[in-house]
Symmetry: C2
Subunit: 311 residues, 2 copies
């Protein structure tokens, strides 16, 4: 799809959480020159234990990198690592490429590209999807948009990190728009999986049987199949946390507001994730949204899953 | 799973709509002795044109059948064909089996079994799933519960009509509970598919690209994959109508009310289907729920899909 440059690119990965650490590690193992960056020393040490080199601030990484991936949580963090006191901008060499991999509002992504262009930097709007395990295996999906030159410069990185790169045109914001459509669906499907399982349990159905029947029926979804096993095991170790969907469905809501498009189904799912966060489950796996139904109805969830040990 | 009787069973199918006609035809072709019944002469003629025998009232069928499938739309129709002036009950021989195949409230199914038992009839609570095409091919899923004797008597019919029979225990109502869980999910997934596509279009995304990306991403659902092509083709010929989900999500709502379990995500989807019905799309394909978003936001749906020819 694009010419590969013959000059080895120096790659920075800012944000060494579950997704960033896996991505940085896989890029390193793919033979790329990778520098990691996280404000948390522990995250830096994790990357170093895998053979990587890391720094504590974007400023310390800026001069060493031609391409920087932002694998941070939200728009505020994107803003901080680029334009903050220890930010990349003003330090990274002209013509450098910023790959914006976070889930952000499309309007934010568009403005960001303009601000970076004004500083002589390129941007690829490149949200990633697939989870930590796929990040570690270089099997992510990337929903990307940006200038042809940005795609060309990013090619060695995209080739390594992704199983699938959706090239969605040359306008920044399109990648983020597609990611938002996916997050709307993913969030609603998790909340409705929880709601359906709660109703099933309340009606007296066996949870394992519900899982078996639904995964073979028209009511199935990728998220039902993926998340309900967490509920069946009573294991809410966060692979992706409730807080993530509070954030992402709020971006859906804000984008709907900007565009005057009502999103009532997503809004109801957002309320359930908000309630889960309010009830103290924000950092648990997103399947813990079922605990909202448990708290309100007293249903017995499988195994140790009941948050208060009762029921 | 059950002994087959050596006496050939005489089977009645009441309700010759899309599901009932297909089921009756396939049972006939499987060598069973089938009598069809519908209050609509046109539906009867459709079955007769396929070689079947049909009658205009349950009363006319009662004495000829050992097993009667109710493939009607809702609880009111179930009640009418059983207990109405021209109903089955009081005419069907003692020990006869009623297979309740409609989507009804679990509480209704339980009461129904009691009422039938008082009349000397057996009942299998046996909602069906899969759509008209699978009915025609004997490939339905049946979510069934009832007494062992009822399963044994139904075996030749279940074997013929279904690809999968979920045996969910001996209590009537369990089959209907499982069907309700499926309908909650199916309804929410259709409404959220429409909402996500509407948002995508409003953000400027290409609808075909959205379909391609989402069906390969974590936001996918069985319903997204099945229904969005109707939107992409602008074809709202009803395979399953908006009205069906107005009905089924109202059963979810009523059952949640009975059990004091809130179902806010299903409630938001119900409101969208209700709006679609109110806007005049009740008899269109359920994917037409996207026209609610179209009417409110002016987005352009693919091809001839805009309900008013504008946009």
């Amino acid at each position: 799809m694009s010419d590969k440059t013959t000059t080895p690119q120096r790659v920075g990965v800012i944000g060494l959480g579950a997704m960033g650490l896996g991505t940085a590690t896989f890029l390193l193992e793919s033979g790329l020159d990778v520098t990691g960056c996280d404000i948390t020393p522990k995250a830096c040490r994790a990357f170093e234990s895998r053979g990587g080199h890391s720094v504590g601030s974007p400023a310390a990484l800026a001069e060493h990198c031609d391409i920087v991936l932002l694998v941070v949580v939200n728009a505020d963090q994107v803003d901080a690592v680029l334009f903050g006191e220890q930010g990349l901008v003003g330090r990274m060499a002209q013509g450098g490429l910023v790959m914006q991999c976070a889930t952000v509002a499309p309007s934010f992504a568009r403005r960001l590209a303009e601000r970076l262009e004004a500083e002589g930097l390129q941007m690829l709007d490149a949200p990633i999807s697939g989870g930590a395990a796929k990040a570690r295996d270089g099997q992510l999906s990337v929903m990307a948009s940006g200038a042809e030159a940005a795609f060309a410069k990013a090619a060695p990185v995209l080739d390594a990190m992704a199983a699938t790169v959706y090239r969605l045109g040359d306008e920044p914001g399109v990648g983020s728009s597609m990611k938002l459509v996916n997050q709307l669906l993913a969030g609603v499907h998790i909340a409705s999986a929880a709601e359906a399982m709660a109703l099933g349990i309340r009606m007296g159905l066996d949870p394992d049987t519900v899982f078996d029947v639904i995964t073979h029926s028209a009511g199935n979804s990728w998220m039902f199949e993926n998340r309900i096993p967490h509920i069946l095991k009573g294991d809410y170790t966060p692979l992706s946390a409730v807080d993530i969907f509070v954030k992402d469905l709020n971006i859906v809501h804000e984008t709907g507001r900007e565009l005057a498009l009502p999103t009532p189904v997503a809004a109801s799912a957002l309320q359930q994730f908000t309630a889960a966060k309010g009830a103290g489950f924000g950092r648990e796996d997103d399947a813990a949204v079922i605990k909202v139904y448990q708290r309100l109805s007293g249903i017995a969830l499988p195994e140790a899953a009941n948050d208060d040990g009762e029921a």
